[in-house]
Symmetry: C2
Subunit: 115 residues, 2 copies
DNA sequence: ATACTATATGCAGTATACTGCATATAGCAC
DNA sequence: GTGCTATATGCAGTATACTGCATATAGTAT
């Protein structure tokens, strides 16, 4: 590690963010389209605090960006690089969907026209 | 983690292999062409046992394959998926090169015609 | 057979990441 | 202001990964 050029250290750190089942799940969901925390919470079936902590890691590394809208905070993938890495590992993205048990506007049908 | 579909667990484990500076360095070197352990040892500047252990992880996950030739063992990247992930993270591969201090045939000039 | 070289493996100590829980903040409605 | 909802943060215990060292194996040469 001591002799490794910076590119490998940084690249590894970036891969590290994708190298986690929950974060990978979150990112796979986000490439369908922006989603709020409650949406991801419903999809992953995990406590809110847990989701927020994974999102923080992704956000601090500029893998995702957040956009506040009232109480809800919508996250989306920050750059196309990450999307291509996901495609390479998981295949093409699935279309956006509504989620049972998610109270956000997108899932209760206030803004999306066709599921 | 408990609810995560298998695809995310497996994908994350695969990303995990790339998420390490030394392994990333090794893989970046291997995409220039096959290389023996002593070659990687010379490039990374790390103990032989250390290199072999990282190679074992990569080999057991079928990220690289080994090919014995007498005393030397040549490793190469197993599939194009990994190469594309490396391209996405590190950019295009550099051309093959000889390495100072590596005693293998490739580096002492017994088989390669042009460096 | 012995000696030497290249590579592999096992184990142990240490560092780092994961994850659950309690709590804090921020925005909206009243 | 209070109360409620959505999200964020801090911390601690546990699990996992990293890495150094000693040693084992396997192939070649003599």
């Amino acid at each position: 590690m001591s002799k490794n050029p910076r590119a490998y250290i940084e690249g590894a750190a970036r891969f590290q963010l994708l190298a986690h089942p929950s974060r990978l799940y979150i990112l796979d969901e986000l490439r369908r389209g922006p989603a709020c925390v409650c949406h991801l919470q419903a999809v992953l079936g995990r406590p809110q605090a847990y989701i927020s902590q994974q999102l923080r890691l992704l956000r601090e590394a500029d893998v995702v960006v957040d956009e506040k809208d009232g109480l809800n905070v919508y996250y989306r993938i920050a750059d196309a690089h990450v999307v291509r890495l996901l495609e390479e590992m998981l295949g093409p993205a699935q279309p956006a969907r509504r989620v049972e048990g998610c109270p956000c506007p997108h899932c209760t049908g206030q803004e999306v026209c066709c599921s």
